[in-house]
Subunit: 516 residues, 2 copies
């Protein structure tokens, strides 16, 4: 009897090891309907604002220069380059446009910018903006990232600059639209609040402070717009109703009482008897994923993800029907997606799975040739994109617990930012108004429940209960990468909106939201 | 019956997984004797060369300046900084000293330097030298690495410079000794060949070319000396009879047909559906070792290591008896060695185990703050120190096969250098002469069969069949690290040889080898 018991527990133990070695799979969400949400049932916006459109056409060179002026002002939040100059530029521009209120907002970090345009109207649109950009490696760029030169490419005339599409181009285009309405009509058809931050690329660590400062007033808004370029090179328009959350942290291994060189690199031959912090970091990072790097092995990490709702399933079906696989791979810059995913599987994976990604890693000698050292410190920048249902603080706790349980208690984690996902319903008034405008300008509208990227929209959707839609015609690419561009004048035959049409669509959206 | 078979094979499979998960252990070599080699049985060198010693004492300021002149000439082989200037300086110095032959040697890489001093003597000493140094991070240094300033520390007056102890200080001290003998005696007591390279820190990829060019003449030598500072801070002298080999390579993961971003970094949110080359490299590196980073999991990697011979076991026993654990940890800059090793276990681990070490790793964004990208390329510099019996090319084949077998065929390996270990017997005439000189100057002599570091001595020991001993009194530290120093004038009570005594011991060694 005892022998049997012993044997059973040995087998259980062996099976446990197998289970641990295999790790858990990513959850698989099935789409239970073939019905697709059809945005063409929403009537195209019927308003006509010819005088404003003409004003835009007549001012387009000046409007392009306004975009360039913003892009030529570096505003790299991670390196604190040009941040205050850019905040001042935004504040001053709002004043010139006619915002009665226009001021910097102290946040403890880079300042926010608040603007309020009182049209004496019933309805109020809140506009979220970011005025910061990602860092650059200038040597990787075909045209200098802060010269914002007009460059001809296969699509037409583009501005090449850091921030071109993420996010200065669409934002300044939106302001050009406001200017044009005021120039022609004397005032805007609805009140506009602008609440901009200079730390989006840092993970928006202080955006809550901006909402704190104006919360009572923001609650009076009817919805939140984030100006964005959402067209594909083929002219299709992609509507986005949500974002993933994010957890961003540094992991560091450093020699100390546990072992390893304590204060500086030592000769590499010591490795025979000295622990390597670099190998420890590599082992700790490797323990977080399967060998292909694509499934997170942190226990319970996939627990709590909210599967696609009925509404979202219909949106996924609609998006999948319009998806061009070649185009999708090209947009990502890859020859294949993981597991050769395509169609709705790829969409569900992108929008409903958390990620574990190494943004950067460094240790020791990284120059040319041979240097034989045992470094005393190694660091990685890691982020995890979080679908609805995964909280960043819980995610961090699970990672910490996993590292501790696997003997990596010495690995230090420094959290740099974290916020949850956000979601808006396609049936909200704001979303319906956006669709009506897209239906006026664009042939093919594809709606996704959310994107794989992150923005602190939860401040509006979860905290204030407001619908939020990132919206705007136009095309850009290269966000967070070299050679970022924003299309301002499409070549003949290219079915994408240029700057003038982008601005006209914003004009229409403002009137549509005002019920005019 | 079939059921039983099935069950047995399931259990076998489970056990195999357990075995794989546990990995192989490092071999353990037992020392089968308590006998220790006793160098004090070798009579101290009895010759007396007062006139030469006096000449050294009278010229010591000039001799220090000769060291500083060498150290102030940067010669960073990895970055091709100052290499040709340093080669010229060495060649010219040999001429001035009186070498009849003194010339640069084309190698395909950085030039070698050959010198021959014909004393018309029976015996010939071949001297291996390296004139290159490791790269530096100047901001880590207390005194600029190429100013070679005299600095006072707890040991006395030291020169702080890159190359101070590795290897310009000891080498130029040896030449000072030659100069002094010639100044007093008119000529050296034996013929001296010098065969210097400028690529030791690159793994000596072309040293064979230098040996090729002078092989017939080198074979006439009676032994090979490598000038080195081998004293400990407590004055003990450490004699070294061999070196490990080395394999140094880069491992790189890059997006391509297998997956991942193809040409540049992309937005980090793509990770949900895109492979990460950085995670791939991390997983590949992690697969090479156990989770603690201290045991190599490449199959058969430990096969073929030659265990300590009877002679080496006696040397290990002698070294262990004299070992100061606190001092050993301090020398490494650590609070503890792996597995809290000490005594002869630590010595055997250091000298008989191969290492797997990450000298550097880099990918993606490594600056301040948050940047959310999925990098398209990740690189690591890896080295493996090889005890006698492990060939660098076989080691590389095993690593490649292991990566391929574990799904990492896409990981590129670029070999940067590789050569095997080298070993000399303590009973060789050269080693016995060195011991006799140490016994004259030093209270406590500790002999190790080899060191954990690497040098291309196999060219002499394996190829030419010559004994080789790295030898010289004196103390230095910080090789391959910041704040490298070489002690030139010990403080009162510090039992280490200063520059004058270092040179006098070299004088004695030359006469001892000449049988005088």
């Amino acid at each position: 009897m005892r022998r049997t018991l012993k044997y059973v527990s040995l087998l259980a133990w062996l099976l446990m090891i197998v289970q641990t070695a295999a790790g858990q799979d990513r959850p698989s969400f099935s789409i239970g309907t073939d019905e697709a949400y059809d945005p063409s049932v929403v009537p195209a916006y019927a308003g006509d604002h010819q005088d404003v459109y003409s004003h835009i056409d007549g001012s387009i060179d000046q409007h392009i220069r306004a975009l360039q002026r913003w892009m030529r002002q570096p505003s790299i939040s991670a390196q604190n380059v040009g941040i205050h100059e850019m905040a001042d530029m935004l504040r001053d521009d709002l004043r010139k446009i006619g915002f009665q209120e226009s001021e910097l907002v102290a946040t403890g970090g880079h300042p926010g910018v608040w603007g309020y345009y009182d049209a004496g109207a019933e309805r109020t649109l809140l506009v979220y903006m970011m005025y910061d950009v990602q860092p650059v490696n200038p040597e990787d760029w075909e045209s200098p990232p802060f010269e914002a030169e007009l460059v001809e490419n296969e699509l037409g005339r583009v501005i090449m600059a850091r921030g071109a599409t993420n996010q200065k181009g669409p934002e300044r285009a939106f302001l050009n639209a406001l200017e044009s309405i005021i120039a022609v009509e004397g005032k805007l058809p609805l009140n506009v609040m602008i609440a901009a931050e200079g730390e989006e690329e840092l993970g928006s660590p202080n955006y809550a402070r901006i909402v704190d400062a104006y919360e009572d007033r923001m609650r009076k808004a009817d919805g939140v717009l984030f100006p964005m370029s959402v067209q594909s090179p083929d002219g299709g328009t992609n509507m986005l109703l949500g974002v993933k959350g994010i957890l961003y942290f540094e992991m560091e291994a450093r020699g100390g009482p546990w072992g390893g060189p304590q204060t500086a690199e030592i000769h590499g031959s010591w490795k025979a008897v000295v622990d390597s912090p670099t190998l420890r970091l590599v082992q700790a990072l490797a323990s977080l994923t399967t060998a292909d790097g694509n499934t997170i092995r942190v226990p319970a990490y996939y627990d709590g993800i909210r599967p696609p709702t009925e509404e979202e399933q219909q949106l996924i079906n609609g998006a999948a029907a319009q998806r061009d696989e070649r185009q999708a791979r090209k947009a990502a810059g890859v020859e294949r997606f993981i597991d050769d995913l395509e169609g709705r599987d790829a969409i569900v994976e992108m929008l409903y799975m958390p990620t574990l990604n190494i943004n950067g890693i460094w240790s020791g000698y990284t120059g040319e040739g041979v240097k034989t050292i045992l470094p005393h410190i190694a660091t990685a920048k890691v982020d995890s994109r979080l679908p609805v249902g995964l909280d960043p603080d819980r995610a961090l706790e699970k990672i910490r617990a996993h590292l501790d349980a696997n003997g990596f208690a010495d690995i230090v984690i420094r959290k740099l930012s974290g916020y949850p996902a956000a979601q808006t319903s396609v049936h909200s008034e704001l979303a319906q108004a956006v669709i009506s405008v897209y239906n006026k300008y664009s042939q093919e509208l594809s709606i996704q429940p959310r994107i794989g990227g992150s923005a602190p929209f939860y401040q509006f959707t979860e905290r204030l209960g407001l619908p939020l839609v990132p919206a705007g015609l136009g095309y850009g690419r290269g966000a967070h990468a070299p050679n970022e561009i924003y299309l301002v004048e499409p070549a003949p035959g290219v079915p994408i909106a240029g700057l003038a049409e982008i601005e006209k669509a914003y004009v229409d959206l403002l009137f549509a939201l005002a019920g005019q």
